[in-house]
Symmetry: C2
Subunit: 238 residues, 2 copies
């Protein structure tokens, strides 16, 4: 494997580690390409690897026996896929898959376990990320319960935009609808409104953020709390 240097890493967590902690992981990190749709964690199956994302976005999905599905959080290079491992748990009822393709550095679950046993500063940073992610999930719960679709859509686009280079988001209405747990037609309508206001530009399978500031205005108070908490606990997204 070619040398992996900390300064060339895009993942915010890996970049934030002290050099000793990075060295502890470095040999075990394996670069992987992650295509849209790739399943990183299957419900109720042992988590084989933890993925530190370098590019792209994962969705974490909760589902019911009745087949209801909804996104409860997302992660890009701000974090990792496999938080249960950090809490000493081997599997979860949730699914994690690539929402927007990219790449990552993966580590075998058992090796990460060894590393966090050896370094409390490593464990500590990763647990702080778990806390930040928990706040994100909580605000998804809040938003699902008390915001209109337009606000929720704006929040969701902002969260994706935060985690991507540039302003293009390769997303279909159908997919967004699944994430938000609403009708596809409702998404179409809400996107059209945003497009009329020239806040976004929607092409087939693609959404371009034109005016981020006004997108934030549209999101209102549905956006911001988890992001501020991430900055406080981990540092800047970028």
């Amino acid at each position: 494997m070619p040398d992996l240097t900390q300064s060339s890493v895009h993942n915010r967590l890996l970049a934030k580690l002290c050099p000793e902690d990075f060295d502890l992981l470095q040999r075990s990190l394996e670069p992987v390409t992650l295509n849209r749709g790739d399943v990183l964690i299957t419900p109720h199956q042992p988590i084989e690897h933890v993925h530190f994302l370098e590019a792209g976005i994962t969705s974490i999905i909760a589902n019911t026996a009745g087949g209801r599905r909804i996104e409860i959080g997302l992660t890009g290079r701000d974090g990792l896929a496999g938080t249960p491992v950090l809490l000493g748990v081997d599997s979860t009822p949730h699914e994690t898959f690539m929402q927007i393709g990219g790449s990552g550095l993966r580590i075998e679950t058992e090796r990460l376990r060894q590393a966090i046993r050896q370094s409390s500063s490593l464990h500590s940073l990763l647990l702080r990320y778990v806390q930040a992610f928990t706040i994100q999930t909580s605000h998804t719960a809040l938003s699902n319960g008390s915001h209109r679709i337009e606000e929720r859509l704006a929040r969701w686009l902002l969260m994706c935009h935060d985690r991507v280079d540039g302003d293009d988001l390769a997303l279909t209405h159908e997919f967004i609808a699944l994430m938000l747990g609403v009708r596809r037609a409702s998404v179409t309508e809400a996107l059209n409104i945003l497009e009329e206001r020239e806040i976004i530009q929607a092409n087939r399978g693609n959404v371009v953020v034109l005016d981020r500031l006004r997108l934030e205005e549209t999101a209102g108070d549905s956006y911001g709390v988890p992001e501020a908490e991430y900055e406080r606990l981990i540092g800047s997204f970028r």
Copy 2:
């Protein structure tokens, strides 16, 4: 302080500790009475104590700048108030308060920090609880986004019922409405339907669970996943 023995403790987490870990905490645990409305964690303020609940229920509430409030999880003797401490974080944007009065054993944050540094088996159990609680929050997000009020109400009553002795829940419609993030009138209506079916009996400021099985039927697939996960990770509620 009179001796506190592990066998006399009702809290599920404390009861589950190995005797050595319990001894580690025992001297630092201080019994407290917790009245309805007592605030255990104030948003953005340092968490002074972690509370292991012996009786009663706490609500964890997310709120927005715009004043929106909604419950994102609840805890009784199945858990503790102060999960951020276990993740190495000193404060949170969420509020935690007593929803139903009771009692608990509290420990100073710093002392708990010392203890989890000393005992990895202690830390491990408490982190597994964090994971179980995370699943609860996730399913609150799911439920808020995809279930009707009647189902959400049923789920919520079941979650309270799980954490209380007997079948009485001291709750007003107004309060339930706040927790679910809906109109008070909607709660009144939904409760009346449940009462007509003789699933519950509602008196002023009080709800009695008459037929738990049919309450579970009413909740449908909104209830169950987090509870199963708690059992897998920690053990039985009771």
